[in-house]
Amino acid sequence: MSKGEFAVIGTGEVPCGRYPERSEFEIAYQVAKLAIQDAGIDKDEIGAVVGAAHIMGGDYNTEMFFGRLPEAIGARNCKITACTISGGASSFSIRKTVEGILASGETDTVLVIHAQRFSQFTPNELVTFFATAGADQEWDVPYGMTYNALAAMVTEAYLAATQTTIEQVAAACVTLRKWAMLQPNAMFNSKELSVEEVLGSRMVAYPLTSLMCNVLADGGSAYVMTTAEKARRVCPKPVYVLSDASVYSHRSITSAKVKDFSEIMPFGPLANRAYERAGVGPEDMDIFEIYGSYPSIILMILDHLGITEPGTAGKLVASGKCDPGGPYPITTNGEAMGMGHTGTGVGFGVFVESVRQLQGKAGRAQVEGARFLIENCGGGAFMDCHFTVLGNEVPA
């Protein structure tokens, strides 16, 4: 991929939260239509439809593997359909799939869809699934591991290895909630939080309280990606993919190649690689759209983006500088803490919000004059990290 070769020209998103009556197919068709309308293209221009798998399977995945989506949305000129999944990193791996399709020249317009409906499952089915999704069936699950326990262990060790405090982790929750308050589709957008409330909520896995943990949600989003050449032709304000940088670290957290959990993998060199490839630096970033999946992981990543010394992101966030109106806006949709945890959709939500910001379509959450931002995602037991630099112009 060369710098600015591909661009996103439109997005769609539905409200996230508990919507048991809304099927995942309904979500998919709805977000597809919203994205097509927002992009201002005709559905017959779409040459490929790519979807992310629905977490916990079901008919949706089977139907996707067998080509339901292009037919349902009337993409009559679709040539390629695919389902790509790598857990929380799916928003990245799917985009790389799309870039490959666009680079092949077979089509210049691809529709990407995510849909998730967790409310069809019982609480214990969900707890059990997420106990085993982040943990190894042989080595972790027999010990009563859960996703929350995984994040709690990493948080505990991060606090111990840096000067970060649990109050600062709570402050990150407060900041994310402030952003979510500005998002019409967020699950948690009706009431501000306080540090005291977050710390005082039920203990889940020390040191994580319930308000530091995610709530599963139904939701979905979509976007239309094209070649830069077409984007310039059809879209007044395309968002260009300027660069990315990736690392895969491990399956089991016990195999993380670090001496302590001041970080889980070397985020700093990775972010620098993304900045360098884009020809921009941290000082050019208007927003830091970080996907950590837990507030402490957001701090851990923010530590290494070039705006604060490693180990001091907690202090920065607690100072309010990452809040709406502050100089270092982070994760402006409130991430999973704000939108709810929509499975592979958390990363899609952050990506779609990134595009909205750079298109000037972020509504009340709009960061005025945003030109460049860095975005990331990762999946599994914090198995990988993918930074992407996006911009509404291509720097020289």
Partner: protein, 152 residues
């Protein structure tokens, strides 16, 4: 205050199956680990070619891709790398164990494992503390290595 499995079953209307502990699902290349645990021995797999200890084990050595291994006795000592005390939101089979500790331990051989820390005051847990292995017979066939603070 710990609740008994029976209390929890009654309160939540759960069957014996609902509260059955998940047991390890071994692979053919990890079976010796569990066989040794059954005899209350802790063993690790070491590559005969390059000497790397690998946990979890896979069919080939992660470093040199060799396929010749020896299972060697571990010292049974570790330090605490990271931990959490679980208080709520765990699967049904673990409700009766609340509060319990899950942790990452780093063995003197260099590999890390997920495990439980037992026989320990939760307030006394500190990363870096010295641990020794203990064995919990969780069923007729299965024994889990766990860890406790080294007794002075």
């Amino acid at each position: 205050m710990k609740q008994s499995v029976k209390d929890i079953q009654q309160k939540l209307g759960l069957s014996d199956e609902d509260v059955a502990k998940p047991l390890p699902k071994p692979t053919q290349w990890s079976e010796p680990f569990w066989e040794a645990a059954r005899e209350h021995r802790l063993v690790l797999r070491r590559c005969d070619v390059c000497g790397t200890y690998q946990h979890p084990p896979y069919p080939s050595c992660e470093v040199c891709y060799g396929e010749e291994f020896s299972w060697v006795e571990a010292a049974g000592r570790a330090t605490l790398f990271a931990y959490t005390v679980n208080h709520s939101s765990v699967p049904y089979p673990f409700l009766a164990d609340l509060p319990y500790v899950t942790a990452i331990v780093e063995l003197t051989e260099g590999v890390r494992m997920i495990s439980n820390i037992v026989e320990c005051d939760h307030d006394a847990l500190r990363n870096g503390m010295e641990l020794e292995v203990v064995f919990a017979d969780v069923s007729e066939e299965w024994t889990l290595p766990q860890w406790k603070p080294v007794s002075e």
